[in-house]
Symmetry: C2
DNA sequence: ATAGTATATGACAGGGTTGTCATTTTTGGC
DNA sequence: GCCAAAAATGACAACCCTGTCATATACTAT
């Protein structure tokens, strides 16, 4: 947690530091991100930084928390908005929402992606501790299984792992191309494959 | 390419350096691997290293090449061994072979995995330049499509991307658990899902 | 044995990183 | 205006890293 001195700062300065952190963490993985860069971008001295935060982890946690607030507001409401959508529609809704959001706040999104790619001890633990997206998908899938919409001999956890993995793949792979339409199509095709299989019947 | 001085070394010393490189590159991604570690493990001086290799890239390339020789020998013969297997059987065959190999030479396998995870410029380029596994899978799939075994409205490239991605996921995710039986089951289940879909018909 | 070549070495320069701390500056209350 | 408390600062120690280079050692062939 940031120290009091940080929260005593006026809003503009807090924001400037937050933005510098976002900038850095959206370009490099946590393990490679440099506080030197952050302080440079924020226009504060190295000494000041350590008066605000304990260390890089502290700053990272703070940054994620800030972003998390916005993120959950936008993406986390699939259940509310589409109460009786099936799993596949639910996922696509989520996917579209995430994509919109990634267009609005690409840096935030990149941080999330880099976090998934990071294999440092700290970030791995962190990821394990907050499996929101994963659990939401799993819940949706299990509901559909109970409703008999999904074959009951599949392993729900594995299916969600699969979709989660492919989701990340889609976003990383096609992120740079910046072609929302094409990306959405790919996602739909992926879902259709998971849903129907690829074998000719 | 390593310098002449390296190839002039007696076999044992070459091997020791190779093994030190394997050790390092199987623990850290290329971008994070340290030559200091390599020279320490190999028991040579820093100066000597640069008498043998231009730099870290040079050593990495050499290491991959050495490993590649063995790898292709074991895994790359799916076509020969199972000439009329379908795509799914072919994949599972490959998967099992890869798994066997990863048990025999876990360090080599880890290097491959870390390479997939690396996003440094150099490694990305390198990966693009040698898409053996990817192309083999794609070839097998296209053959099956021509034979009418696969729905012809699916995008072969995408399907292979999916399987490739999930393959990597399976191996990274369950690597540490070291439970071959369970891992193989998961792979089979993944393939079954891709093949049949998960929706109740 | 000697001369010349090939190889081995570690100190070095120059770059990066983090976290600390004595000192200076700013701020706010009286 | 003054003073104490809070905040800002950058130099510093300590630790990484890479690639070079002058020097020392070993080898080889005459």
């Amino acid at each position: 947690m940031p120290k009091d001195t940080f929260f005593n700062l006026d809003g503009a300065k807090q924001k400037k530091i937050f933005e510098a952190a976002v900038d850095e963490f959206s370009q490099r993985r946590f393990s490679e991100a440099s506080i030197n860069q952050v302080v440079k971008n924020a226009g504060i001295s190295r000494g000041s930084f350590y008066q605000y935060f304990d260390n890089k982890e502290d700053l990272y946690l703070y940054t994620l928390k800030q972003i998390g607030k916005e993120k959950l507001n936008i993406i986390g409401r699939v259940g509310e908005l589409k109460p009786d959508a099936d799993f596949f529609d639910g996922y696509m809704y989520m996917f579209r929402a995430a994509l919109e959001w990634s267009t609005a706040k690409p840096e935030y999104y990149r941080i999330g992606m880099l976090m998934e790619l990071d294999d440092s001890r700290f970030v791995s633990e962190l990821r394990k501790a907050s499996p929101e997206g994963f659990l939401m998908l799993k819940g949706m899938l299990e509901k559909d299984m109970q409703l008999g919409r999904i074959r009951d001999d599949v392993d729900a956890g594995l299916v969600v792992d699969i979709i989660y993995t492919l989701n990340l793949y889609l976003l990383t792979q096609y992120f740079k191309e910046d072609n929302k339409a094409e990306l959405t199509e790919k996602a739909e095709e992926v879902i259709r494959i998971i849903k129907e299989g690829i074998v000719r019947k």
